[in-house]
Symmetry: D2
Subunit: 420 residues, 4 copies
């Protein structure tokens, strides 16, 4: 079985390879193809990946290509982990909204919209090549904003599932706090990508979330950057990204007085690439754990294994709503536990969602549909509408100012805006 990784030159790739090696029993791969337009990165990261596989005695061939058509040809699954515009574009996502008093983040708010505008056309183009050269292959999207990108893929008729490491991260963290194997933990995870709450934590089917909050509330609250009083009061654990909503002004104040995450990551990436280039290095460096993708390879391996092996086990993924959350469109993409098998993901039923979460989910889901329209059809007007529809912007003059800046700053990446 061949698996292709588009964006394979990413510094994340060794994380993935490490997982493929550790979990080879779960996912028997004969070829891993790394695809990336950046040939220097591809050579460096490809070399590192080969050394890691060799050290692990993994039998798969590691190939590299700078052409999607070649790289994906014949693959059974294609992972998307690309970043259009690199850390430089991300830096703009994180600082430009601040000029208008809004939070700067690359997956939500104005920055998330900018990323969607840059990413959707590129991903759809890749997906067409997958359709042509690897018909029937599953596309697994890690590329943010995962919810919007996954919906773009599904709307275009592709076999796609979106994946994020937030849920698996909670599962592992809660398991560690409880001192049990992660497999025994199931999450009552609900919402949209990067807008989710854990409403229950089942240990062998029994909800232990109240106990976790009683005993470890401070640590859990700190890990998601929210006041412990809030988390205890909710009796639910919001994801870290809810912080951009629940503590918006505080985050803006912090961002105003500190360097961007993109700047930090860019420095980290330089260091990582230097390590990967060292022919003596054949294990994942510790530094990679600070890069932010913890348990990403576990989640990826599990998802691909279930899709290929028709395991029908439950995993948290991004897929069509289809009535799961009745207050959203059937076509909306949601992030919930789903049974994953050869036919894809089928969401499990979800307890009615409390108004406190439902209002925000509905608001952001409506934004996502406008963001997707803007990404597909272009035009500063559509960008402005999406911003006006976002609960973190929502104001006419802010939407005007942000739309103009965001289009200007991302012009090189917007097919409909390039020709000026």
């Amino acid at each position: 079985m061949k698996l292709a990784v588009v964006g394979g030159g990413s510094t994340y790739t060794p994380e993935l390879i490490d997982g493929f090696a550790r979990l080879r029993g779960e996912l028997p791969l004969s070829e891993i193809a790394l695809v990336d337009p950046d040939e220097r990165r591809l050579a460096t990261v490809g070399g590192m990946a080969r050394r890691m596989l060799a050290r692990a005695g993994h039998p798969a061939a590691l190939t590299t290509s700078n052409r999607v058509e070649d790289g994906v040809a014949g693959a059974a699954a294609v992972l998307l982990q690309l970043r259009v515009g690199g850390q430089a574009a991300r830096n703009v996502d994180e600082t430009l909204p601040l000029e208008c008093g809004c939070v700067g983040q690359e997956t939500t708010g104005a920055g998330g919209l900018a990323k969607a505008l840059r990413t959707v056309p590129v991903v759809l183009d890749i997906a067409e090549k997958v359709r042509a050269h690897a018909p029937g292959a599953w596309i697994v999207d890690f590329t943010n904003p995962v919810g919007i990108v996954t919906r773009a893929l599904l709307d275009a008729g592709h076999r796609a599932i979106g994946l994020c490491n937030v849920a698996i991260g909670f599962q592992r963290r809660f398991a560690a706090l409880l001192g049990v194997a992660p497999e025994r933990i199931a999450l009552g995870h609900v919402g949209l990508n990067h807008l989710t709450w854990e409403r229950s934590v089942l240990l062998d089917g029994v909800d232990v979330l109240p106990r976790l909050l009683d005993e470890h509330g401070e640590g859990i609250a700190e890990s998601v950057g929210l006041p412990v009083e809030l988390v205890r009061h909710l009796r639910a654990v919001p994801s870290y990204y809810l912080r951009y909503f629940y503590e918006h002004d505080r985050v803006v104040a912090e961002q105003r007085t500190s360097p961007s995450r993109a700047a930090e990551v860019a420095a980290m990436e330089s260091a990582l690439l230097e390590m990967y280039a060292d022919p003596a290095v054949d294990t994942k460096p510790d530094l990679l754990n600070k890069r932010g993708g913890a348990f990403y390879s576990e989640a990826a391996v599990a998802l691909v294994a279930s899709l290929m092996g028709d395991r029908r086990d439950v995993q948290v993924v991004n897929t069509r709503n289809n009535g799961t959350l009745p207050f959203l469109d059937d076509d909306a993409v949601i992030e919930v536990p789903a049974a994953v098998g050869a036919a894809g993901a089928v969401p499990l039923p979800v307890e009615p969602v409390e108004p406190l979460y439902r209002g925000l989910i509905a608001h952001v889901s409506a934004y996502e549909s406008l963001a997707l329209e803007a990404a597909l059809d272009g035009g500063e007007d559509r960008v402005r509408d999406a911003l006006l529809a976002h609960p973190l912007v929502g104001q006419a003059s802010l939407a005007d100012g942000l739309a103009a800046r965001l289009v200007e700053a991302n012009r090189a990446f917007l097919p409909w805006a390039v020709a000026r």
Copy 2:
């Protein structure tokens, strides 16, 4: 037919009486009962009302009472137009949220929540007395926040309809711009009370909104306090209250540098009461038009006439959703055109709502259900949840600060908080 007006000592009452007099053919009344706990106001306003009826040769008896039980006894319809805490409490609604950087307004945001907390228990108490002393009477609620108050009444099993003068104001204004009789205009009005958009303006069945925006866009935009570019871009007219969302920060900046509306209205009310006390005055003073309730009496007369006369004509009212907007709960109260007859209001079907409006409507509707819970069950925690669920607050530390202040400042009006 007897009609009772609870809050009959309001300075608005002469507006209502003026309508009853002008439109007596539509609504044949034999008794108008004004009910108010403030006996001085009741005497002044009652005297004025009697002189107005006499001048108009209207045959109805005008009675006054400071006991709800007496005033509503035997009435066919009861109008609610009360204000718990008067202009002083309103002043707190308008200034307290500013301390936390939020817009100060008595029907939306934190101020609207405070008003709901004060009002719901009082209105439910009155409604029980109506049930006992005027069984079968319709309760028409003008008291803000109309959406939440109407839902409270319906949830408690009362025969209630909510009414607001925003829609009739648009109808009259558009008719004037077009130079036609208001009856020929039907509005594509949709949303929640004080969160509505006119998506079409039918003149004899033909949508003239595009023409209105082309020819009178500037004036229309100015009348709702929004940029004309926005209104033209939307091809829809948001109500004035959308300004608190679409121009939130600008409104806060204005409010920070100008006196509250409550202070202005309090001054106006003093002047009005002085005029009403003058035995020579028997017509509605011009000043009353600045008080804010334009066309309120026309709307009230039409609604009561249709309820009593089973006219089944179309009016914009607040009533149960029942699937009209599929993305909201059936139990939610919405503000849309409805056929009004003896059995109450039946919403007309509504075209699918655009995501740009739908997201905000869903968010605020979820808030409203939490606001109602807080009003019914009390507790600072519930107040905080409602604030956290409101798109104009939405932040944990703001919700904390506002909840504490708002409970403290309104303690005297909150049954569950009084006993400290």
Copy 3:
């Protein structure tokens, strides 16, 4: 020797009495007269004071009066520690500016101006009575804003000195950190009341501030509410009140989400008065230490002792600039170490002040002269000018909004605004 305390019904008074008792060798008093318009408080606090003196075996008579003329008659020194409008007015000082996005504090910014407007006329009236009934007596002012009040007194030709407990607090704290007697510590304290920096800390004449910052930087920074990096970088310790400048927006954010200090203090005062009313209580309660006036009695005793005894020792006081800080008017009141004797206070020479402090001092001193004009001559225009001149306001529309609100909210205390 008779000493009168105007505002003697304050809950602070037992702190003062405790000092008179402990330090009786330094300041031989034959009569202590408490003056206060609030007779209930006067009785309670007066009783407590008598019990404290009795327990200590202090020979002074303790008299009380609700008339200034009587209370000050024949006194050698008069202490002013009053609060016009009580905690209720203070609460307005602390919350009203927040409505305009400004810090709410009763001694600086808009709140400090409000306090000055209320206080200056009352203090000048008292001072005239002192002139008539206790000619030659020294007036020691603790009443905030001390800088403006002291200048008002000096401009009117009174024998006045302003005193604050910030400097003595630093002296005691540094002595404790060093494990030495406070007398061995001399401060390089410079600025205006509540706008000061400790530029050196001499232990027996040697500057130990660098050592203090190295060894105890974190604790010192925390005690003044500022980042330790800032304090270490400055090589100077700003007073706690500089926090309202150096961390303005952070303080506003905190104030928006927490109750006012006035509310806390009002609760404390209730508890204290209850304790004072208990005939069994004859020692200063621990709770008083949280009230905020630490070492106030030590400072007061020392100052009065030096004025009476012509000791010519060095104390930090508020007095005329007279060229000490060459960039300020001679008439400005500054807070610096001065030699205090029978002729009053003579500032010691001061090292040139660094531009980083000088700019802010000059700005606030200019504000203070406009604040005093507004307090003396009245008028919303003068209030607005003072706000426009304050570095924490400084904007025209903010000054407009604040001036209107502040005059309205304090109308009852403003002689020139009362008659509306």
Copy 4:
């Protein structure tokens, strides 16, 4: 007489040439040397300048050079009108502070500091070359921030005067409103560069400012971007740059929703350079008037003529304080009317400055001395101090965040930061 213009490739130069041509009687020039490192611009603008002189029949030779040493050799006066980093750096000055919630402007606040840091080293380097190759020549500085740059030149012992077109602009505007010749108008202009107030407007020695404000208050207020109530209340006309103080938050809100001035100017410059390149164009284009330097050539000609011709007439210039404003250091540079002759500028006596202006002037002057230190000695710490000393920043965490960003964004232009 030879006059050199450093930054001669600026699009402003034709404005200057136009003035030299029109006012040739006042200033007899034999050579005009344009100096600029950008040879393409120099060729284009030099050609345009030659055509303009030819058309006017002006006898001066027009020479160009990309080396300062050559261009200034033998000059009697050297004009500095350069912009280090061009419009791109200016764009950073105007947008970067917005990320931290501060006003973005290239001559005041954080943006002005950035410009000072870039500019001072370059100007001092040029001045050394003037000293070597044109000993005794006057250096006239138009380069912003004029106050700081002029002080840098004076501190280094150069014969320098700073010039700005704000004052001459007011003179011309007031003359036009009054319908009189500009020469009959003298201004009571006081403050620091870009921080000035017109306290009187003498027409033939009589103050007509009250009349101007009565009759033309609205227009005057609009021209400086301030509320007419404020201007009338002050009985003085603040310069347009006071808007960044008096209306700070409003300006930030505007800047957040509109493109930067730098972006506008960059577009204008392209158009101007295209016009200048046209061999048929030999007169100043109308577009140049929108570029912002109105009456700049008149001011320059008058100043150089007085310096060369020892005219000892009164002009508003930037020069040493020397006791003119007693609340500032003697070494500070101020902007006031001065008698200008062969020995330089001697400030006229100035009426005592009102506290409302004095506080702000003192604060900004202290900032300027720290800004100059930072520009000369470098280091992020000094940058932070200057920001902390600026009334538009003044907060520790803002100063931290801004210092880091500003150094990072301007690294290429900061001699002490380049080598990373």
